[in-house]
Symmetry: C2
């Protein structure tokens, strides 16, 4: 093992912490409940120390929003979040001080996008977008070999959307924007409308078509702006049987042959499974060298 890399998948309900190396192996991992920063982060550091220390780098794939401006005094901090106790929390700093080595931090979805592009469903593609559809909707993309950043990281769940004609009565569930993608297609919006998760709705329920249609509109906007070689759609909602194929079909219909790339080939499921979060942290850390 040439390098020993500390890995943190920082989620809103749990931190997964692990030890990896440059050969994509993960040697150990644990789970720590996300409570308060002053409890959760030291617990992660303690566990990493118990694995022997000696880390050459730390990779963190975190919930957000994050300050990722390298020139900022609050680089590596969470900015404002609805999650209690975590607004303005310094996530990267404690690990940098504890292990005295470079720290890479980015959003969990940027980590997943980079990992899927490096080792998974986007491997070999000239560009890849990763979208997770679950409790929220988030996404990241690798273009020209690099993750997209601008003033901040993407917030792909908040793109604007047309309205499905059979869904006109619903206000949308995003506390910021109402009927953005997340407000119309994330898990809580499905439960708010139909009282069950998409996978629990019967096969003939109109919710299946409506959610697939929204995700297809999102895919079309992604094609129009990024023309990605792969669009990797993951997350709990995407595990609904038949949904991926429905999204492909609706994207092909609505695109009307205008965009380059057959949606049946471009839109794919993730390939990295349950290790995607830690592998995202690893992919971010390997970018440091």
């Amino acid at each position: 093992m040439d390098e020993k890399i500390a890995l943190i998948e920082a989620g809103g309900t749990k931190f997964i912490v692990g030890v990896g190396d440059a050969s994509r192996r993960i040697h150990a991992r644990t789970r720590i409940d996300t409570t308060r920063p002053e409890e959760t982060i030291p617990a992660a550091i303690d566990w990493l120390r118990a694995q022997g220390g000696g880390y050459t780098a730390v990779g963190i794939a975190s919930f957000g929003p994050l300050d990722l401006d390298p020139a900022s005094a609050t680089w590596g901090h969470i900015t404002r979040t609805a999650k209690p106790h975590w607004s303005d929390a310094d996530v990267a700093g404690p690990f940098a001080r504890a292990f005295d080595c470079p720290v890479a931090i980015d959003t969990d979805v940027n980590g997943a996008a980079l990992a899927e592009w490096t080792w998974g469903a986007g491997e070999g593609a000239n560009s890849a977008l990763y979208l997770t559809v679950g409790t929220g909707v988030g996404g990241g993309a690798v273009v020209g070999g690099r993750l997209i950043h601008g003033l901040s990281h993407p917030e792909m769940g908040h793109i604007r959307m047309p309205r499905h004609p059979d869904d006109a009565g619903f206000d949308g569930h995003c506390p910021f924007h109402g009927d953005c993608l997340e407000g119309l297609a994330a898990g809580p919006s499905i439960i708010a409308r139909w009282g069950a998760s998409l996978s629990d709705l019967p096969g003939g329920h109109p919710g299946h078509e409506i959610i697939a249609w929204y995700l297809a509109q999102a895919a079309l906007s992604f094609q129009a702006i990024l023309s990605p070689s792969r669009m990797i759609f993951g997350g709990g909602v995407m595990e609904t049987q038949g949904l991926l194929d429905r999204v492909r079909a609706r994207t092909a219909e609505a695109g009307a042959g205008y965009f380059v790339g057959d949606p049946a080939e471009v839109i794919v499921a993730p390939a990295l499974g349950h290790d995607a979060g830690l592998l995202g942290a690893l992919a971010l850390a390997l970018r440091l060298s």
Copy 2:
């Protein structure tokens, strides 16, 4: 003059052809009507030869869609277009053969995005998006110092859009997608609804608010996907008095403070004026070295 660069702004109604250098100067230019490829392209080559030849590079900023895959046998060709005679036309090849030097080709809007980022309204920004709103809507973006490409170039005019409540009766004017951004906000859609261009509608006409609202929805989707430091909105429709300020205001309202960046600073007018097309070709050519 260290380099002599042949510049072509290939538009659907006219080709502007010029001679430039690496110091951003344009020394000569002419206009050639766009008729058929076998007439227009040789006329451009003849004019360039009459300027003395000896070009070190050719830059072409062209209408599209274009095949920009370097591995493709039809790289530098227009693909399918509604413009008669130009489907499958080889645009780059004749210039490469005539002047025996490297040829850079990209879309006109990618050229404009690169030129505005290099010398204009996006200078110094870490990322910049350029959108033109005119007879059509098109856009390009520089992220991480490079133009976005994927399977193909962006087609930003065709992102999906929510519908303004006072515009529900309009089907949209895009022949491919109906009510995409171009179908709802390009010049012909304005004339189709209200019988005049936006700048000719009286100040209190609801069209002003409706078009600003659509462009704000587009700006929000761009922020969500790219988080650009600058969004440069140009084209004939954007010359309507007060429109840019309206777009800024609607973007700020609908964004609800969620995205990083104040729309009043992020959304700006182009800075390169009438030379933007040729400067786009020049910026593309300078990327060859």
